[in-house]
């Protein structure tokens, strides 16, 4: 691209190049900063609504749009937080809780959100939805586990990820994988059994579900995504253990109620 010039071109001098790059960087940086700040509220609102939709969908309540989900959430869900011993923690705004940061703390220090879904707010809970957060192969993975009123049977799960391999580990975000968790049980004779994902895959689809039908604490793995699967199992193990006291409290209550 060099053009013929009679005198040495100032534009080719190092000083010019340095000044040029500095100015360019500053201008670009300012532009992006303004855009990022201006659009943040709208983006956060989207993420918040998506979270509500995910919580509902883990409990099997499908909503067409995020706006519907947000409305339904207000009607049905009461959110609160407990600590490791299962005691309610006051003065915590669950919606502001940073799960990524909480998951880095020691289990006993974590603040643990619970989303109770009932037909109408305040009535007996039909589902308990708890968030989980962990690490897959490349980056963070997270999700929601919805337990039925018996605090034992999984009604549905919802997983998502930041950067698992498309087509392999990223499958945790698909219905195909999430369906495998439906009906699994996290307690056996009041002992916690976090669901374990096996290595290898028994054919995928309905076959994978059928093969593991009689194993309430295991699900079929994902071929080619063993490490993501291990991450998934570890995440459930890590987080469900934190909730153990809370769940057991609820289990006890239920027994008393049924007697």
């Amino acid at each position: 691209m060099s053009q013929p010039n009679e005198k040495p071109d100032f534009r080719q001098s190092n000083v010019y190049i340095i000044i040029y790059s500095v100015v360019l960087t500053v201008v670009c940086g300012v532009l992006l900063a303004i855009a990022a700040l201006g659009l943040k509220p709208a983006q956060d609102a989207n993420i918040e609504m998506e979270k509500k939709q995910n919580i509902l969908s883990a409990a099997g309540i499908k909503t067409a749009t995020r706006e519907d989900a947000a409305k339904l959430y207000e009607e049905k869900v009461s959110a609160y937080a407990v600590d490791f011993t299962g005691k309610k923690v006051d003065k915590v705004d669950v919606s502001k809780l940073d799960l990524a940061a909480e998951s880095k703390k020691k289990p006993k220090e974590r603040i643990l959100p619970i989303y109770e879904i009932s037909n109408k707010k305040g009535e007996k809970a039909e589902f308990f939805v708890v968030p989980v957060y962990g690490f897959g192969l490349w980056n963070d993975i997270w999700g929601y586990i919805a337990l039925k009123g018996d605090v034992t049977t999984i009604n549905g799960v919802k997983f998502d990820h930041k950067g698992e391999t498309p087509g392999l580990g990223a499958r945790i975000a698909t219905d195909e994988i999430q369906k495998r968790y439906i009906g699994k049980k996290i307690f056996k004779d009041s002992k916690l059994t976090p669901i374990f994902m096996e290595k290898g895959e028994q054919g995928g689809g309905d076959r994978s579900i059928a093969v593991f039908k009689d194993m309430p604490d295991k699900v079929d793995g994902m071929s080619g995504a063993t490490i993501t699967g291990v991450g998934l199992s570890n995440m459930l193990d890590d987080y469900l253990k934190c909730y153990e006291s809370f769940f057991k409290g609820k289990l006890g209550n239920n027994k008393v109620a049924s007697n």
Partner: protein, 217 residues
């Protein structure tokens, strides 16, 4: 590339030459099927029509505006760092597009995932900057960007229509075959990138047999 910087007298925006800038990339000089650039996103985001449309609009805006700005700056850019300067300008527009998508069409932005960001490395954008904007005036450059964006979009949407129709039996999410009471089992191959690659191949084949374009030896 045949484009050369030319002395231009003040000419109307839609002069014959400028119109050619817009229409050429649609067929004779299409960025995907003739220059064979930007294939990777053409394979990745064409499973459904909606993301393909959004991606095309995004790319068109990015090519058009980075062409415009680079062309305005072209006489000040030191040639030794011109690629970095181009990249910086492109990145700014791409990030803007990405942020806007995240704020206003969140679902589509999730589907496009990394591919919005990858517009930065899309060969079409850099290719047009190097081949056209660095040597031409702002307005023709802007039109060239729009034209190439349209050319890219044309292919993306065409491929996406076929893939969504025969892959999942719908267009823009509307179940066409179900509405016509035809039982249709989606063709799994078309849902995969390999199917898209074949579609692009077939498109190139049809286009070249129609307009008689040949690679020069």
């Amino acid at each position: 590339m045949a484009e050369v910087a030319e002395k231009q007298v003040a000419e109307p925006i839609f002069s014959k030459k400028n119109r050619k800038l817009l229409t050429d990339p649609l067929n004779g000089n299409n960025p995907i099927t003739v220059q064979v650039l930007g294939i990777c996103s053409a394979l990745a985001v064409t499973v459904q029509v909606a993301p393909a449309i959004v991606m095309s609009i995004g790319l068109m805006l990015v090519t058009a505006f980075s062409n415009l700005f680079i062309s305005m700056l072209r006489n000040t850019i030191p040639s030794r760092i011109r690629i970095i300067v181009q990249l910086a300008v492109v990145s700014v527009f791409v990030i803007l597009v990405d942020q806007v998508l995240k704020a206003y069409v969140y679902d589509v932005s999730k589907q496009l995932s990394v591919f919005t960001g990858l517009i930065i490395t899309n060969c079409i954008v850099m290719g047009r900057l190097e081949a056209f904007a660095m040597a031409n005036k702002p307005i023709p450059s802007f039109l060239d960007g729009i034209g190439n964006g349209l050319g890219y979009g044309l292919i993306l949407v065409t491929i996406a229509v076929f893939r969504e129709l025969f892959g999942s039996g719908s267009i823009l999410g509307y179940k066409i075959f179900e509405a016509m009471n035809i039982t249709y089992t989606g063709n799994g191959l078309l849902m995969l990138p390999a199917g898209a690659c074949m579609m692009v191949g077939i498109y190139i084949w049809i286009q070249r047999s129609l307009n008689g374009y040949r690679e020069e030896d």
